[in-house]
Symmetry: C2
Subunit: 154 residues, 2 copies
DNA sequence: TTCAATTGAATTGCATACAATTAAATTGCG
DNA sequence: CGCAATTTAATTGTATGCAATTCAATTGAA
């Protein structure tokens, strides 16, 4: 690539992904508003609907979020009545996140969400799946980097 | 897709893109720190290196950011000495953003950035290009939606 | 057992993001 | 011209995100 081309905005994969991520979040906004959830709260609920009564640490690993983001977000979900935050009796350092009945009930109303957003996005499901596979591959390529670098022999 | 599968985190294209975007930003962080830029400031400088003396509105359209984000960010870049913020004499509503000499000089030091980040990401350039093309397509599919919906006949 | 090292969550500080509103400047219609 | 509608930034309020630090609980080695 030409020296100058390398710094053009339209040649930055990072920017394409960054901009896309933000637009997608905006697409979810009106749909999630009906459920009383923000986008980050929504993916947190998705994780919990699959498996709850988990520590903040485990939740953070599944969502790629740290306690700085999750602590206030989970307090908010607790205030809204969707989760309970309970200290683990056998290890008081850990905070277990459990769905409430209302939290579990919310799942019923969430089943429509993906389809509603799909309809807004004018893209066939097969294309979206391709994108997902590529993103997952890219994620695998970059996410463990830090950990690997640390264990590199010197 | 099975009813329950549709809400699984690993099946959400939105989550794959969202998580990827965040990890990529983290990859840039240490590299950009040497230049004294955050990620958002960096893409703003990329846009300005291509074309400066533009209004906040035009910059926002190219970066998909609004004045709520750009106003404080541009003030920061001004404080750092990389840009000047000048009211357009012929239309006082507009604020023109111009690179300073220091801002233009910074470009020289930025040429290394993409390669440095590539090296951290263990992915061939051809794969990254494929990702970029797909993201750009997806962006085209979803971004104009709102505008189109407004002009739909009733 | 004892205490230093580690672990997990919370906190702090800073930088986004964006919806909604506000305020100033400009435009365009009558 | 005169003023309502529009346009552009800035502001306000809320919600992330994350690096770095702190604090309490637990673990593990001597």
């Amino acid at each position: 690539m030409e020296r100058d081309e390398s710094l053009k905005l339209e040649n930055q994969t990072c920017f394409a992904i960054y901009a896309c991520a933000k637009e997608i979040t905006k697409l979810y906004h009106p749909v999630l508003k009906e459920l009383g959830l923000t986008y980050t709260q929504y993916i947190t609920m998705l994780a919990l609907w699959e498996r709850d009564r988990v520590s903040v640490k485990e939740l953070g690993e599944r969502l790629y979020l740290d306690s700085g983001t999750l602590t206030p977000l989970l307090k908010k979900l607790e205030t809204q009545g969707f989760v309970s935050r309970i200290r683990d009796r056998s290890d008081e350092r850990q905070l277990l996140i459990e769905l409430t009945d209302a939290g579990r009930a919310l799942k019923e109303r969430a089943y429509d969400v993906p389809e509603k957003v799909f309809c807004q996005a004018g893209m066939p499901a097969s294309e979206l799946m391709k994108v997902r596979v590529q993103m997952t591959e890219l994620m695998r390529a970059i996410h463990p980097v830090a950990a690997v670098a640390e264990t590199t022999p010197d």
